[in-house]
């Protein structure tokens, strides 16, 4: 039973399109995250929600909009996709807020390719 699951795993789309990535965790955690991993493997946090409340909102273009319908789900919607949005997007969850005494549980990633 997958703890943090993301769909789709691969996404290839054209510039200018709008796409969504979904994430669900069955660990009962209160906090969820979206991270972006670029081609050099560098990981950068984008957003974090705690019990459906936005608690981290890094400097990302407002074309990116997270949505948390409940604490087990955190979706990422991207409008007007650009070439630079090509990356692997990881969803993660943690029991604690902040996460500095706990661990993050990551999904397997969603590889987005914008042509």
């Amino acid at each position: 039973d997958t703890a943090v699951s993301q769909t789709p795993k691969y996404l290839v789309t054209q510039m200018g399109n709008d796409k969504s990535i979904k994430c669900e965790q069955n660990l009962g955690h209160d906090t969820m995250y979206w991270y972006k991993q670029d081609s050099k493997k560098f990981l950068k946090i984008m957003f974090s929600y705690n019990n459906k409340e936005l608690i981290i909102n890094e400097t990302v273009p407002n074309r990116f909009s997270p949505k948390s319908p409940d604490k087990a789900h955190l979706n990422l919607h991207i409008n007007s996709l650009e070439l630079g949005d090509s990356a692997v997007y990881f969803c993660a969850s943690s029991q604690e807020r902040p996460p500095n005494t706990g661990e993050l549980f990551f999904g397997e990633g969603s590889r987005l390719t914008v042509l």
């Binding site: 493997k41 560098f42 902040p98 005494t101 661990e103 993050l104 990551f106 990633g109």
Partner: protein
Amino acid sequence: AQSVTQLDSHVSVSEGTPVLLRCNYSSSYSPSLFWYVQHPNKGLQLLLKYTSAATLVKGINGFEAEFKKSETSFHLTKPSAHMSDAAEYFCVVSALPNDYKLSFGAGTTVTVRA
């Protein structure tokens, strides 16, 4: 501000030999430190963490790391590498009490030669 530097972008070892991955951190507060591993096409998995208890931390798969405050280091070691250890390794720091963010290092790619 907090930051972490992984001193080697790539480490290559022979199977059965020791592995050393180096990590230095910078922090104004007492840090919590982590090592994560990412196997190809997989998410990150926690190997071990230091949160101000024992300075020598043991993790999964035979890995351990030692927190050295005087050297601001948190190096990861394993006595004997296995082929399955080939992966990307990330050193991570969290320092401010009210900072929800983790700072990730740039990663070290480990290859294991048969």
